[in-house]
């Protein structure tokens, strides 16, 4: 029987490779975390879910779909400040960011809707730059769109996952945001069926870990 | 009664309130532009639901607004030739014709497709699309389509107005045959009194949405009082005559009570009774039997009434041994000849002026 996985869209690529390790046929449906959580709650035929957002996993617990102990962080990621070009920006503050924006905008995921946006906002708030930078944001619907804005030079700065930034030659990482400046970026996974639990072991295997790391993720 | 109509309908600024009975045969609706002819026919066809009224065809109730009965058009089994043709633009001429047959009910009159095509000269048009037809061609296809639908009654709204005289003359005898051979009643709208006089048995004169007069065509056409209504040129009596002889030179001898008539181009068989229309304008009156005239039809008659008009004309009603004739001459001549009721005289009819189209077959 096939194993059906519902996974956050930003995992495509890495997860596809990992799935190839499994002896089973693994079918992966990629999507937004919110949509997937709702679908699982509505009885989606998922054996395993990997979300990009712990909030939605908590919501699934609350719905009684996932037992509280069934979920555990699978991966973590880093947050980076990227730019089209130019010198690195260690430890930027509000003024530095404004100066670098120079009238342009900072691209990131939507502050409430897109997990990467939520983390970016948390970081900006942490460094006390939120109210300064907020009027200069360009919030988009997913991280890749933010990346594209920076890559094309439409936005001088952007905040994206480390895993995304590494693969885009047209952007440079200006600053690797320390993990303590934002909530932990965690991809919680939960098996919903025995088949899912079996695939979970594949996900947690060393071969899988190597693949994830190669794609820029970290292990918790 | 074949068709009985009694309806009332109001448009903004126009009210139709008409009642008439149409016996079997052809009933002509005659009236000026805007008199309500098309409105009336639409009501009969079921395309217009009148405010109130009752329409019956033979023993079928088509409309009875009191009883809330209103048969939909497709169950009325009437063939309607529209004033504006209304061919199906997406179908070829052949398919337009076949549409009529497709939904034809079992009843009604059977007419063969090839007969209809021949008569109307449609053979070269069969593969055409309606928008590639000329005005007259369009109308001919519309007539064909209605004929092929095996209707129980034909409604024809100025079907021949777009046709030339030759084509008209071809089609009229066929319509006559429909009425006699197939017994198909026809409600016929026309403003050509010629056609009406030839075809119709009953005339309904509409004026301003009301029936001005209605009755057998014979009576109405020889009524001097209607001359102004029907139009000076078109008034004229209709009489029945029996065919007694076809001569080699093409003239046919017809017997009427007052004597013999010699007319060209009569198609009926010896022994048949045909209808002859003699337009008032084509009758000359002579006090003495004239000699050496090219007119071969001279009948002894008696003046029954002299009606002087307002203008230069006078309508003279004549009795020809029982048949009513109508003559329209100048008032000056009437005075000069001293015509008055009861006076015997002679009516001269030009043989050729008895229009070809005015000689129709009479009901059996």
């Amino acid at each position: 029987r096939d194993v059906t996985v519902f996974a956050a869209a930003s995992l495509r690529g890495a997860l596809d490779e990992v799935a190839a390790l499994s002896a089973d046929t693994v079918v992966i449906s990629y999507g937004g975390s919110g949509a997937m959580a709702r679908q699982v709650a509505q009885g989606a035929p998922a054996d395993l879910v990997v979300l990009a957002n712990p909030q939605w996993m908590d919501w699934l617990h609350a719905q009684g779909v996932v037992a509280p102990d069934a979920a555990a962080p699978l991966l973590t990621n880093t947050l980076v400040l990227i730019g089209h070009s130019g010198p690195e920006m260690p430890n930027p503050d509000a003024d530095a960011l404004l100066a670098r924006l120079n009238g342009g905008r900072m691209a990131m995921g939507q502050r409430d809707a897109v997990p990467a946006g939520v983390y970016a906002r948390a970081w900006l708030e942490h460094i006390g730059a939120w109210s300064t930078v907020e009027p200069h944001l360009a919030e988009v619907e997913n991280v890749r769109a933010a990346l594209a804005l920076v890559a094309r030079g439409d936005a001088p700065l952007g905040v994206v996952y480390g895993s995304d930034a590494g693969a885009e030659p047209k952007v440079s990482v200006l600053w690797r945001i320390p993990s303590e400046q934002h909530p932990a970026i965690s991809y919680p996974a939960a098996a919903l069926t025995p088949e899912g639990a079996q695939f979970m072991t594949t996900l947690r295997s060393p071969q899988a870990a190597a693949i994830f790391v190669r794609h820029g993720f970290s292990l918790p | 009664m074949s068709l009985s109509v009694d309806i009332e309908h109001r448009f903004d600024g126009f009210t139709l309130k008409a009642a008439f009975e149409a016996p079997p045969g052809v009933t002509a609706l005659f009236g000026r532009s805007g008199a309500g002819k098309t409105t009336l026919v639409n009501a009969v066809a079921g395309l217009l639901r009148p405010d109130a009224g009752r329409i019956t065809l033979k023993d079928r109730v088509l409309l009875d607004s009191a009883a809330h009965i209103c048969l939909p058009p497709h169950r009325r089994r009437l063939g309607y030739v529209f004033q504006d043709a209304r061919l199906f633009p997406h179908l070829s001429v052949a398919a337009n014709l076949d549409y009529g047959t497709r939904y034809a009910s079992g009843g009604g009159t059977a007419m063969s497709r090839s007969d209809v095509i021949d008569l109307l000269g449609l053979a070269p048009l069969l593969d055409r699309r309606p928008r590639h037809l000329s005005g007259g061609e369009t109308q001919r296809v519309a007539i064909g389509r209605a004929l092929l639908s095996r209707p129980e009654m034909l409604l024809m709204d100025e079907p021949l107005a777009a046709l030339d005289a030759t084509r008209k003359a071809d089609i009229l005898p066929y319509l006559e045959r429909l009425k006699t051979a197939y017994n198909l009643p026809i409600l016929y709208v026309s403003h050509a009194l010629d056609e009406i006089a030839r075809l119709a048995d009953t005339l309904v004169l509409l004026a301003d949405g009301r029936v001005h007069s209605a009755g057998p065509i014979r009576t109405l056409l020889s009524d001097p009082a209607l001359v102004p209504v029907l139009g000076v040129r078109e008034a004229g009596a209709v009489i029945d005559a029996r065919v007694t002889h076809h001569a080699d030179d093409g003239l046919t001898t017809l017997r009427i009570a007052a004597g013999d008539l010699y007319l060209p181009g009569v198609q009926a068989h010896v022994g048949d009774v045909v209808r002859v229309r003699i337009r008032a304008g084509d009758v000359i009156i002579a006090r003495e039997r004239p000699k050496g005239l090219s007119s071969v039809n001279i009948l002894p008659v008696t003046v029954t009434a002299v009606q002087m008009g307002d203008g230069p004309g006078a309508a003279i009603a004549l009795d020809a041994a029982g048949d009513a004739l109508l003559a329209r001459i100048t008032a000056r001549s009437a005075r000069d000849l001293g015509l008055q009721a009861g006076m015997p005289c002679f009516a001269v009819l030009k043989a050729t002026s008895v229009a070809q189209a005015s000689i129709g077959q009479h009901l059996p």
Binding site: S10, Y30, A44, G166 | H74, R76, R77, H90, A146
Partner: protein, 228 residues
């Protein structure tokens, strides 16, 4: 193109084709009602048909999920009575595509029906054709350009639909992952652009072919019915 791409293509064509065919009669009926009838709530029907156009597709998908999910009332009813499962099946993708393409189909057909001269239909009725026959033999051929236009639009929309579909039935490869959702998910990962571009080109090619076929058909229809 890889197997997954083929699979998405096959599924997209299946879903869009089925959705278009299924929606056709329904859309025609609605179009006819809106064009020819006056009834209470007509404006509301019209507004309801337009709604999927106005709402973000994700909302439409969410509403579909709420109504037709496995645990949702209508979804459960359909499963128990007809054995028809929509949630997370290609059938659900069909439903989403139908709903999204519906306003486009209805509008095109409605415009076409409004342009038909009722006097021509009346002529058919006097020739004995009952109402359904008039519709089938006169109205239908005369509105063929509108039906065609509606079909192309509906098919195109179904082919491009993504937000409602992925929200309602997810993007399960071979089941519900259509071309657009494959494109979308490739766009989400580093280095996926090339494959996204490839699939996009395929979607474009299908669309262009569909439009060319429809233009050709539309010329043939115009020649038949004598439109400009």
């Amino acid at each position: 193109m890889d197997a997954a791409g083929y699979e998405a293509l096959r599924l997209s064509l299946l879903v869009s084709g089925t959705a278009t065919l299924l929606a056709l009669p329904l859309a025609l009926g609605c179009a006819w009602l809106l064009a020819r009838r006056d009834f209470w709530g007509k404006d509301l029907l019209s507004a309801a048909i337009h709604l999927p156009l106005v709402l973000p597709p994700v909302v439409t998908g969410y509403l579909l999920l709420l109504a037709f999910g496995r645990t949702a009332p209508v979804g459960r009813f359909l499963e128990q009575t007809l054995g028809l499962v929509l949630a997370f099946r290609w059938t659900g993708a069909v439903l989403a595509a139908m709903v999204m393409g519906f306003p486009l189909m209805v509008r095109a057909m409605r415009l076409a029906i409004q342009a038909v001269d009722p006097r021509i239909e009346a002529a058919a009725a006097t020739l004995g054709a009952p109402r359904y026959a008039v519709f089938a033999t006169i109205t239908l051929p005369l509105i063929a350009p509108g039906i065609l236009a509606g079909t192309v639009m509906g098919f195109a929309k179904a082919l491009g639909e993504f937000g409602a579909t992925i929200t309602f039935v997810a993007a399960i490869p071979g089941q519900t992952q259509t071309l657009p959702s494959a494109i979308y998910s490739y766009l989400q990962v580093p280095g996926g652009e090339a494959r996204a571009a490839q699939l996009t080109l395929i979607a474009c090619a299908i669309a262009v072919s569909a439009v060319i076929v429809s233009e050709w058909l539309s010329r043939r229809i115009a020649a038949r019915i004598g439109a400009a």
